[in-house]
């Protein structure tokens, strides 16, 4: 059966090989004098200019899973899946306002992770540990999900096996290569590969959104086909427009996902790797190009409806795997070689974020667990080494999740991941503006938000499952007389904030020790060439800079 897809497989393999070579060569790209430092391995020397940052963050935030799952959601549920567009509009002004401050304070103090910042700001190793663990736990399933993106492509190409090991062998090989070059080149590898990944994706999608509507009878016909499908389905909440029940869910999900996305360790890693504040700010105007792309990709779900694509069967009998609709659409509508390019774009699209996420998780472990609790006097070289090894462990864990557990488990965990990473908002994002919250208040708020979020997710049923059926929580569960639903994460973080504020007031009344703020107000505005950088990282400031893009 894979023989029918030989051209696709050859094109896919060649492009995959190309980026693997690039991944290893990346170690020499903009090479530093000393690679054995976390600033170099984990943050690319904090030196990326405009273009590299654009590709890196774009490649980081818009993952293969996004490209596969968003159209799958549109295919299955309609308008509700389009939340990805407002979500990726809202995030950039937020980063513009908030994460530039994190960049500045990290630049001056040499922070590598958000937990580093919290440690210094609130003088609380416990709070920093909670932030680090939250980040690691939220990131792991996200890495595993990238594999699901690759798997959807492999499935469509007929690369399947009779047993679990044979079926997963291509993914294991792909991740072994990825692990090897990430180990060697650090953040430089995904930064370099992102150029290829994003160029491929832009070409594929531009061709698709121009050619497919022409072939399928125009946009009017595509929307009409989608409308007809949702009219015929028994589900009352699908359709090409939102209804009264899911509007609140739509906007809270968009806002909550945006807040969650910029708290994810891998986004912060991408931002901290840029050279100065201007690079970040300019990128916030340029990155929405990807949102446009994502909006068009989402509409591929409707094109699949219009083209009459039938998704491949899922892992359990009788189920269908909607994640295969986009690969199938390409297989059906395009010549084999072009479908191969599209598959490679998705496959490589999985590698870039997976690499950055594993680096971000490894940095958290190294800085906030290893250095904090296991080896206080770790040298810069030891830190880099621990991080490299941890990145390997993280990837092995992600592969194991997919091979040994039901992939659904990773999807559930990722759903949970978005909700739990939001619980770091008070300490990390608000912490950048104010130290009003008491450190113990933040800890108690975190516990409350986590507990409530988990309970709410557990309560959400879907047509096929009793628990963890999604993130749309019916307000009737709280005793409201309504059929409206709301995004779990927003409620959980609101409770988190309220609890943190109340506990803060109580502790302040009781005059409980608050610790010392290790940062100063003007740390939050420091920029490249700052004269007061805390010593430590031996950045070779006098070496010639790459030309600014």
């Amino acid at each position: 059966m894979w023989r029918d897809h030989l051209t696709e497989i050859i094109v896919f393999s060649l492009l995959f090989l190309l980026v693997s070579v690039m991944g290893f060569v990346a170690a020499r790209w903009r090479a530093p004098k000393e690679m054995a430092h976390l600033d170099e391995w984990g943050l690319g020397g904090r030196s990326f200019g405009g273009w590299i940052t654009w590709f890196l963050i774009g490649g980081d935030l818009y993952t293969a899973y996004t490209f596969v799952a968003v159209p799958a959601l549109m295919f299955g549920a309609g308008a509700a899946g389009f939340f990805a567009v407002p979500y990726t509009i809202v995030i950039y002004p937020l980063v513009f306002l908030v994460l530039v401050r994190l960049w500045s304070v990290s630049h001056r103090h040499g922070f590598v992770t958000p937990a580093d910042f919290v440690r210094k700001r609130f003088d609380s190793p416990v709070l920093a540990l909670l932030i680090a663990i939250t980040g690691i736990v939220a990131t792991m399933p996200y890495i595993a999900l990238q594999l699901i993106g690759i798997e959807a492509v492999l499935k469509t190409m007929g690369v399947t096996g009779d047993n679990a090991l044979a079926r997963h062998l291509p993914i294991i090989i792909a991740f072994a290569i990825l692990a090897a070059y990430t180990y060697q080149s650090g953040l430089r590898a995904p930064a370099l590969i992102a150029f290829v990944k994003d160029s491929l994706i832009y070409i594929v999608i531009l061709v698709a959104v121009i050619y497919l509507p022409y072939k399928l009878g125009g946009w009017g016909d595509i929307f009409a086909a989608a409308d007809a499908k949702f009219d015929a389905s028994p589900n009352p909440n699908d359709g090409i427009l939102l209804n009264g029940n899911n509007q609140l869910q739509y906007v809270t999900l968009a806002l909550g996902s945006a807040l969650a996305l910029f708290l994810y360790p891998h986004s912060i890693t991408g931002v901290l790797a840029s050279r100065n504040r201007d690079v970040i700010k300019r990128n916030m105007s340029a990155l929405p190009a990807y949102s446009l792309l994502l909006g068009l990709i989402a509409l591929l779900g409707y094109m699949a409806i219009a083209a009459g694509v039938k998704p491949l069967p899922g892992n359990s009998a009788g189920s269908v795997d909607n994640n295969t609709v986009v690969p199938l659409l390409f297989d059906q509508q395009f010549p084999d070689w072009f479908a191969g390019v599209a598959y490679a774009a998705i496959g490589i699209g999985a590698l870039v974020p997976a690499a950055i996420m594993s680096i971000a998780a490894a940095n958290l472990f190294t800085r906030n667990i290893y250095k904090e609790y296991l080896k206080r006097d770790a040298s810069a070289a030891q830190e880099a080494n621990v991080s490299k090894i941890t990145s390997l462990v993280v990837k092995v864990g992600a592969v194991a999740c997919i091979v040994f557990l039901d992939p659904q488990f990773s999807i559930d965990l990722q759903l949970i991941g978005g909700v739990i990473i939001l619980q770091t908002l008070p300490a990390v994002a608000l912490g950048l503006y104010t130290r009003w919250f008491h450190r113990t208040g933040l800890i108690v708020g975190w516990v409350a938000g986590m507990g409530l979020g988990m309970w709410m997710l557990y309560q959400v049923a879907s047509p096929t499952r009793k628990h963890f059926g999604g993130s749309a929580f019916p307000l009737s569960e709280f005793g409201f007389d309504t059929t409206r639903t709301i995004y779990v994460g927003i409620v959980a973080v609101a409770v988190n904030l309220a609890v943190a504020a109340l506990v803060t007031l109580a502790l302040r009344a009781a005059k409980v020790e608050e610790g010392v703020d290790g940062t100063e107000p003007d740390d939050y505005f420091a920029d490249e060439g700052d004269p007061r950088i805390t010593p430590g990282p031996d950045r070779d400031a006098d070496s010639a800079r790459e030309p600014v893009a």
Binding site: I89, W219, G220, G295, D522, F525
Partner: protein
């Protein structure tokens, strides 16, 4: 480049820039895309796209325009 050595850290002007009132404009692209009343409808259609789709895609331009404007109005002057 080739900026004269700043003897005193230029904290005061930097601070003033970060507190620029222009930053408030950034709340427009945060709030507007989250109001379904604007976009949750079918007509008018543009190139066959229902309003729900083309207007939300147009909000991307709103975001780009606002961040660009704020960046231009708040960036450091004098090429430093």
């Amino acid at each position: 480049m080739a900026a004269p050595e700043p003897e005193a850290p230029p904290t005061a002007p930097t601070r003033a820039k970060d507190h620029s009132p222009w930053n408030w404009l950034l709340f427009i692209p945060i709030v507007v895309p989250l109001i379904p009343a604007f976009f949750n409808g079918d007509s008018p259609r543009v190139f066959g796209f229902p309003r729900f789709y083309w207007l939300q895609l147009a909000f991307i331009l709103l975001g780009v325009g606002t961040t660009t404007l704020v960046y231009q109005m708040t960036k450091k002057r004098g090429g430093s």
